[in-house]
């Protein structure tokens, strides 16, 4: 029998202390929708489980003074969906987080867990990358911040140092005329892992795209920020040529694998299709904002 300890600290300092002390034998429990599955399958055999949901900073949603948002890493998708303003400011980020699993999973799963689990197909990550989210991370050596796209370093691997815990996501304030969107391709309508996922955030002024970010998931070892796709959009009226150039940039950014969820050829092609569709939704939202 494997001995496991369950800890539910009230403060981040306690959590970081316990996590660092366990020297790699501990796992952080947020929603648990990945961790409990890994434990059942024998993939994870933690010596200590540190439940971070009793720590206020990790479970709160805050509107910052500058008009941005700070989302605790352990906030569940269902709680975020009930926030009165978040979904109107960042609809794409919210729809991406709300695509993680079933209603039941939504009651537990968090953007922090989704990111830390390290799947290249994590739904929330391309939208967070497009949104320009900045992470707050706390460890034995204190706090630091990191752009979200720099967090994953490979499938199942991230840039957290030993003992560090992901605390929150900070999303910037939105200029007028901004919109974001996330689309994924799955074979069913629900309950699948993304075969391709595309997040787009952009700003329009008089119909001209003045800023854009594109996040691309499930087509490479990590979610990618596709700068070339954004470049292709900025300065255009999102005409067909611009969209095709951005789609081509997405296709070029793909380094996918053949697996049970999709083929290389299919993923590359679909990344371009989804880019165009996602831009259309984001632009439509920007036009209303």
């Amino acid at each position: 029998m494997t001995d496991i300890r369950y800890l539910a600290p009230q403060t981040l300092d306690e959590a970081v202390g316990a996590f660092a002390a366990a020297q790699g034998a501990a796992r952080i429990l947020a929603g648990g929708t990945d961790l409990l599955v890994q434990m059942r399958n024998g993939v994870a055999r933690p010596g200590t489980i540190i439940d971070i949901k009793k720590i206020a900073e990790l479970t709160s949603i805050e509107e910052t003074a500058d008009g941005g948002f700070r989302i605790g890493a352990a906030v569940s998708g269902a709680v975020l969906a009930e926030h009165p303003r978040f979904g109107t400011v960042w609809p794409g980020v919210l729809e991406a987080i709300n695509l993680i699993g079933s209603t039941q999973v939504q009651g537990r799963a968090s953007p922090g867990g989704n990111l830390c689990h390290g799947s290249p197909a994590a739904d929330s990550v391309p939208a967070m990358v497009a949104a320009g989210a900045v992470l707050t991370i706390q460890g034995p050596n204190g706090r630091r911040t990191l752009p979200v796209e720099q967090f994953p370093v490979g499938p199942g691997r991230n840039s957290l140092a030993p003992g560090e815990i992901l605390v929150s996501f900070s999303l910037p304030a939105r200029p007028k005329g901004s919109g974001d969107a996330y689309l994924r391709m799955i074979p069913r309508t629900e309950m699948d892992i993304a075969v391709v996922g595309v997040g787009v955030s952009l700003t329009l002024e008089n119909g001209v795209c003045t800023a854009a970010r594109v996040g691309l998931g499930a087509v490479a070892p990590t979610v990618k920020l596709v700068a070339d796709a954004a470049t292709a959009l900025v300065g255009t009226k999102l005409d067909d040529a611009a969209l095709e150039a951005a789609a081509a940039a997405c296709r070029a950014a793909c380094k996918p694998i053949d697996d049970k969820r999709g083929t290389i050829e299919y993923r590359i092609k679909v990344s371009g299709v989804l880019l165009k569709r996602t831009v259309a939704i984001a632009a439509e939202r920007a036009g209303r904002a």
């Binding site: 029998m1 399958n41 391709m185 074979p187 069913r188 309508t189 629900e190 309950m191 699948d192 892992i193 075969v195 049970k260 969820r261 999709g262 083929t263 050829e265 299919y266 092609k269 679909v270 299709v273």
Partner: protein
């Protein structure tokens, strides 16, 4: 029996087991516990193909908390050279499927099992068992398994004089196909391939077994037949049937796969060795790796048609995957594919191919959906190219009563024509369809039909009148989808009493006579027959009691609306005697009132279905969605219409999953790569529209209420109907299932 006169038959009554099932109180297999119970766990082969040179269980046995270890040595060995059949199951294969013997034939095959005081210790002990494997090259796909240089799974299997993975063949033939094709104006030949699919019941296999010192065994398990559990466990453990009592738990779905057993003999031997009750529950991972599935298929179908739509010849060659042990359902595609039609010249050939996959189990009209997929898409293409309406062509060619089927039977009162005519005249078939609602969206409509044999077989029922004048009915087949509700309706109708006064139970093997499996679309047909005859005997007894009380001839008593009434010359002479009054006097007037019937039921007419489906194709992503579905079957008489519709709707959606998203995927080592509900994609609620079930009621003259079995046929047409609809939408033919987005997009871009 005239439908309009029925008070209970045809009513949507509340099922007798309903409240337990909506409150969480119904007892399924994994819900049972016994005093002193311990837990069993199975060690499974990590190799797709390996010789088992030896098994050392010493370390496992030494682990504290371990109470028993079982290997193939503890299961009865049926030698490979002699077939021992139980129904359609050969015990040579079953004993090896339950516990690998000479060889591991698929990843996940049981190799040993442990019982211990906790699940964790049992699992830990399994990890301590040392199995000496000689790993062999494996083969997964049919095309690889039948190559001359393929790894051979079973040396003793010979085909055309040589060791082969072809384990068996089956041929149905009428007329002369060459002569038939010569008459055709158009001949189309197409090849098909499909992947294995799992039955996908939500309840994993589970059992609790108690083997006591006097050699008596009690099994509480979920299956499609407690008598099958008893018989197969008896054969595989050597314990006589009289010492085994199999108690049917509520069953959480089976769809054919629970017509065989996996855990029960192992649990019996663990219980026997440990002297403790043993509980075993499979994980979903184990269910996917080691139970079911339905076979995948490689097939070639050739059909010839005249310009007027007459089908003149058909040739089908169907290779089915058996899994690691022989026994794929060849009679499905071989016998059923051409059976909807009266075709003068047919040759239908089947080959049973072993490969290193789990042994297949029955799944809703076993094998038949595969054959229907091939034949019904070729017919669609013939109709398209000859400019004919596909439903009218089917009606023109449908078999009619008295026609002889390719599998040998002469059809009785079949209603294929009426069923397809109902779809031809259905508003769905004529409804306009916007075929291009958006630049990258195309819509299309498809139709197809399908045939299944249906079955009668052995059934038993006991109807007893309680001392207070109410009724208990016991039958011998598990209720998978509302059969108790139908039984209650029939009994209430015949006795003329309120439905609520009848309690319907499923008996265990010691409390009711032999009853065959819940399968083959037989239970409503057969149980209504034995319940009717039992109830009629009870009514005879009630009339006899009344006659005795009134001192008149029993022939002069009528049973009407729940009471005995003097009839004929005595009419009106005595006040009627109610069931309650007669029950109160039962003991003084001849003893308890009750009757049982045990029958081998006959007269089941085939199952047949015709479907219409509309699909929507995203031509940029290759995604196919079903947007409208109408399915028609003749139920003969719907004893409980809701559960007839439910059978049709459930079958349709399993067909949609088979067509669009379900498949077994393997990695290079021969290990299933998608053994979870996350990656084995069964349709979820948001994938589907409402499913319109059209149940015709043209009575089967050989059944007291007119029943025709409905359980299976609903799964048959969907695979072809959807492929035909996708063709209608995008103009391309698809011959490989599932129609997964990458596959569809590849064809669209080709």
């Amino acid at each position: 029996m005239n439908a309009i006169d029925n008070k209970w038959i045809g009513q949507r009554t509340i099922r007798p087991d309903g409240v337990d099932k909506v409150t969480g109180r119904a007892g399924y297999a994994a819900d049972n516990t016994m005093p002193g119970m311990i837990w069993g766990h199975v060690l499974r082969s990590p190799h797709a193909h390996a010789v088992i040179r030896g098994i050392n269980t010493a370390k496992a046995e030494a682990l504290p908390g371990v109470k028993a270890v079982v290997t193939a040595q503890d299961i009865v060995n049926f030698p490979l050279d002699k077939s021992v059949m139980l129904g359609i199951q050969d015990m040579r294969w079953m004993c090896r499927n339950v516990m690998a013997r000479e060889k591991a034939l698929f990843h996940g095959q049981p190799v040993a099992a442990v019982a211990a005081i906790s699940e964790e210790i049992a699992a830990a002990a399994c990890a301590l068992i040392e199995v000496d494997y000689e790993v062999l090259p494996h083969v997964i796909e049919i095309e690889d398994a039948i190559k001359p240089d393929a790894p051979i799974l079973h040396d003793f299997l010979k085909f055309e004089g040589k060791s082969s993975n072809i384990a068996g063949t089956m041929v149905n033939k009428v007329g002369d196909i060459e002569a038939g094709f010569a008459q055709a104006d158009l001949v189309i030949e197409r090849s098909y391939d499909t992947r294995p699919v799992h039955q996908g019941y939500i309840e994993p296999h589970a059992c609790t077994v108690s083997c006591t010192a006097d050699g008596k065994v009690t099994i509480w398990s979920s299956s499609q037949g407690q008598f099958m559990v008893r018989a197969m466990t008896s054969l595989l453990t050597g314990i006589p049937q009289s010492n085994i009592r199999a108690i049917p738990a509520e069953i959480g779905g089976g769809f054919g796969a629970k017509t065989i057993i996996y855990l029960e003999p192992v649990a019996v031997m663990l219980s026997k060795k440990s002297g403790r009750p043993v509980k075993m529950v499979m994980s979903r991972d184990e269910v996917f790796r080691a139970t079911g599935p339905a076979p995948g298929m490689k097939a070639t179908v050739k059909i010839g048609m005249k310009k007027d739509g007459t089908i003149v010849a058909g040739h089908g060659v169907f290779y089915l995957q058996a899994g690691g042990l022989p026994g794929s359902p060849l009679r499905g595609p071989v016998g059923c594919s051409f059976a909807p039609y009266n075709i003068a010249n047919v040759l239908s050939e089947g080959f049973d191919v072993v490969s290193n996959r789990p042994k297949v189990a029955a799944y809703r009209a076993p094998g038949a959906p595969l054959g229907a997929f091939a034949v019904e898409t070729v017919i669609d293409e013939l109709c398209e190219k000859l400019g004919l309406d596909p439903l009218e062509v089917r009606i023109k060619n449908h078999a009619r009563p008295g026609d002889k089927a390719v599998y040998g039977a002469t059809f009785g009162s079949i209603t294929f024509v009426e069923t397809t005519e109902a779809m031809l005249n259905h508003p769905h078939y004529k409804a306009p369809l916007d075929k291009a609602p958006a630049p990258h969206i195309r819509r299309g409509r498809g139709v197809a039909s399908g045939f299944w044999y249906n079955a009668g077989g052995e059934s038993s029922a006991q109807v007893n009148i309680t001392e207070d004048g109410n009724v208990t009915v016991t039958t011998g087949h598990p209720d998978v989808g509302g059969s108790r509700a139908s039984t209650a309706n029939v009994t209430a109708e015949l006795l003329g009493i309120d439905h609520s006064r009848i309690s319907v139970l499923i008996g265990d093997t010691a409390s009711i006579g032999f009853s065959n499996l819940t399968g083959g679309s037989r239970v409503t047909f057969a149980s209504a027959m034995v319940v009717t005859q039992s109830t009629e005997k009870v009514i005879g007894q009630l009339k006899e009691r009344a006659a005795r009380i009134w001192k008149i001839d029993p022939e002069a008593v009528d049973w009407d609306n729940g009471e005995a009434r003097p009839a004929g010359a005595n009419a009106g002479k005595f006040p009627p005697l109610t069931l309650k009054e007669l029950a109160a006097k039962a003991n003084e007037m001849g003893g308890p009132i009750g009757a049982g019937i045990q029958l081998n039921t006959v007269g089941a007419d085939p199952g047949f279905a015709t479907h219409i489906v509309d699909v929507e194709v995203d031509t940029q992503l290759g995604i196919v969605r079903v947007i409208r579905y109408t399915a028609c079957q003749d139920a003969g008489r719907s004893l409980h219409p809701s559960y007839v519709e439910g059978q049709i709707q459930g079958g349709v959606v399993q067909g949609i999953g088979w067509a669009l998203s379900e498949e077994f995927l393997y990695d290079k080592t021969g290990k299933m790569d998608n053994a979870s509900f996350l990656d084995y994609r069964m349709p979820v609620c948001s994938d589907l529209p409402m499913i319109e079930a059209v149940a015709l009621e043209i009575p089967n003259p050989k059944h007291p209420q007119g029943v025709r079995g409905v359980g299976e046929a609903g799964i048959l047409p969907g695979l072809a109907a959807i492929a035909n609809a996708v063709h209608d939408a995008v103009g391309k033919r698809f011959s490989s299932l599932p129609l997964s987005p990458p596959k569809v997009l590849a064809v669209l871009d080709a």
